[in-house]
């Protein structure tokens, strides 16, 4: 379906300009989740969209070199691992599963620690969603490993 580079130079340049901004916005959305609408899911989706856009205008071959499909799966798994570890690490320090108050971060405690815990988890979610959506997309357009 998406074989080669999209031929129109306008679209190419607009997309290549747009992508960093989308990614920046995505990261903002992830980090801003504490204060307003946003968070891991939305940010992850936006990140994925940026990569999808790249796939679309660069064509599969080039885009796969820039962002290999394996990396998507790896990122997804890493995101899940971050989330899982955020759950399991507090248990090693005497808390419940996902009890951020027991995260072993020196210098912060109580609500601050929970704040950070939420941030970590949101990052994990973002990575996982990002990786997984790119993975789904790659598989749909017939990607190879």
């Amino acid at each position: 379906m998406i074989r080669q580079r999209y031929q129109s130079i306008i679209i190419q340049s607009i997309c290549s300009l747009l992508i960093p901004f989308i990614q920046l916005f995505a990261i903002y959305v992830i980090l801003h989740g504490h204060y307003g609408p946003g968070g891991g899911f939305q940010g992850g989706v936006l990140l994925a969209v940026s990569v999808l856009l790249q796939r679309l205008y660069l064509g599969k071959e080039v885009a796969y070199q820039k962002f290999p499909p394996k990396l998507a799966l790896a990122l997804g798994a890493v995101g899940m691992l971050i989330f899982g570890l955020a759950g399991i690490v507090p248990m090693a320090f005497g808390g419940s599963f996902l009890d951020y108050a027991y995260l072993p971060l020196p210098g912060v405690s109580g609500a601050e620690l929970r704040y950070l815990g939420i941030l970590i988890v949101e990052l994990g979610i973002g990575l996982a969603v990002f990786g997984t959506l790119v993975l789904i997309f790659d598989n749909f357009i017939g990607g190879r490993w």
Binding site: K70, L73, A74, G76, A77, V78, M80, L81, G84, L85, G87, I88, M91, G95, S96, F97, L98, D99, Y100, A101, Y102, W145
Partner: protein, 492 residues
């Protein structure tokens, strides 16, 4: 507070992430991690069962937030019982060689191990959670994983899986609506908390509809007749290992949810007296038992026959729920355990036969009994257990179900159970006759057949021995594990 309940689940989840990650580069490592993860989980589940037997219910507040604000994990007798069945069957499934268990191993097995682990962890999550919505999430996890795994059986399996997905989504949607009604009536999602608040609202149409929606949704998942339409295709086209775990534990988990709703969230009296839910389930299940058995007799393909047999066997669980007295429910719950062992054993045997000879139709099996004595002995044990011959475990679930039906004075159920024993005997002895007595056909597949490698035979034998052992120790299971579960039910 005890972390054992989450420790059953956490290794599975972490192992699935890790297995996916390392599987991108080295498939062997993924396999090793899978086995380690599930072994750890098995250890935790065993420890959990022992702790529960000694100390009673174990609770774990996830995130440290007490219910009803946070999510609670509850490991009581029922969930510990289910958890150990699930993990044990999962363990056997995982150590069964993929070459025999799947028709073709994906070129890179990366997603497969992860999905198998997610399937098992989803089932565990449903079983140990004490939160209504959390249950939904894990329900979807295991459903999604099973949809995907069924497709390993080829193109037909994909179609079957798609239909299962559509129906499964309806089931999930109904469940979600049901808990929505409960939530908006009570304001809580915690099961124990809802159980406190619901009695005041029992006459409310909303709560009635919630109960009905949840039971219908779970009835679809449980493949309760006439909602079973997805099951025969899905289970017969799925590769044997996957069919084994689906038939053995995946659908029974839906039965668990109904039991949980009946015992914990709503009071049993509500399901029995105020709403005629249990008797409806019972009658539907009775019809399903007969229907499934008859359809199984009509099948030529071995796995398809097993799939229809699952429709019948799962209805035994439904019948146990329908009886709603202690002995009947014990029979139903015990049948979950027994059926898990019997059906997974049979599906693994189907896989072994197909791997070794390429045969899948019953009529072609003539003469295999001599060629694969060990496998066929295991098959005989499992078949006898399905028929309900003592001292195999299958006898005892029927025994309790009959006791329950007699106690309830429900002679139709008694007749159904007894009739279905005979019908089951028809379709299993037909195969036994073929295997051992019929003149072997000259098919090259049969004449050249040999006993498969120990890797295939050992898991099957473990299950077959398990069938016998469970039969002998069933009193222990019933008195120690299941009596506390059904103690809530009204007797007589």
């Amino acid at each position: 507070m005890s972390s054992l309940s989450i420790l059953i689940l956490a290794p599975l989840l972490l192992a699935s992430f890790l297995a996916t990650l390392v599987g991108i580069w080295r498939l062997t490592w993924a396999y090793i991690i899978t086995i380690i993860g599930i072994a750890l989980s098995l250890a935790a589940a065993s420890a959990g069962l022992f702790r529960v037997l000694q100390e009673g219910t174990l609770r774990h507040y996830l995130g440290g937030w007490p219910p009803p604000f946070g999510i609670e994990y509850v490991l009581d007798h029922l969930s510990a019982f289910m958890a150990i069945i699930i993990v044990f069957i999962g363990f056997v499934i995982v150590i069964y060689p993929p070459g025999a268990g799947l028709y073709h191993v994906p070129r890179k097995g990366v997603p497969m191990y992860g999905l198998v682990l997610l399937l098992i962890s989803g089932l565990i999550g449903v079983v140990v959670t004490g939160d209504l919505f959390n249950l939904f999430v894990f329900l979807e996890i295991y459903s999604l994983a099973s949809y995907a795994l069924i497709t390993l059986g080829g193109n037909r399996a994909v179609v079957a899986s798609f239909r299962y997905l559509v129906l499964g989504t309806i089931a999930g949607g109904f469940y979600l609506l049901g808990i929505g009604f409960i939530y908006f009536s009570t304001g809580t999602l915690n099961m124990a908390d809802a159980a406190q608040l619901l009695p005041a609202l029992y006459s409310s149409p909303t709560v009635v509809a919630a109960a009905a929606l949840i039971v219908i949704g779970m009835g679809i998942k449980l493949a309760l007749f006439p909602l079973h339409v997805w099951l025969p295709d899905a289970h017969s086209y799925a590769p044997p290992v996957i069919a084994a775990i689906l038939a053995a534990v995946q659908i029974e988990v839906a039965g668990y949810v109904i039991v949980r709703m009946m015992l914990t969230v709503f009071r049993p009296e509500y399901f029995i007296e105020i709403l005629p839910i249990t008797s409806a389930i019972g009658w539907v299940a009775a019809a399903g038992i007969i229907f499934g058995s008859l359809m199984a007799i009509a099948q030529k393909d071995f796995k398809r026959m097993l799939a229809y047999s699952t429709v019948a066997q799962v209805a035994y669980v439904g019948l146990g729920i329908g009886l709603a007295n202690p002995l009947g429910l014990i029979g139903g719950l015990l049948h979950i355990l027994n059926h898990a062992f019997m059906k997974s054993c049979l599906f693994l045997i189907a896989g072994g036969i197909r791997f070794q000879t390429g045969l899948h139709e019953v009529s072609q099996f003539a003469g295999l009994g001599r060629k694969m004595p060990l496998m066929m002995t295991a098959f005989t044990v499992a078949a006898l257990s399905m028929v309900g011959i003592p001292p195999t475990c299958g006898f005892f679930s029927k025994w309790y179900l009959i006791l329950g039906s007699v106690e309830a004075g429900n002679w139709v159920f008694v007749a159904v159970i007894l009739t279905s024993s005979l019908l089951t005997a028809v379709y299993f002895f037909r195969i036994l006759e073929k295997l051992f007595a019929a003149p072997p056909n000259d098919d090259e597949a049969v004449t050249k057949a040999t006993e498969p490698s120990p890797k295939i035979v050992v898991p099957i034998l473990v299950l077959a021995i398990g069938i016998l052992v469970l039969g002998l120790i069933n009193a222990l299971i019933v008195t120690r594990v299941l009596w506390p579960v059904v103690a809530l039910l009204p007797t007589g």
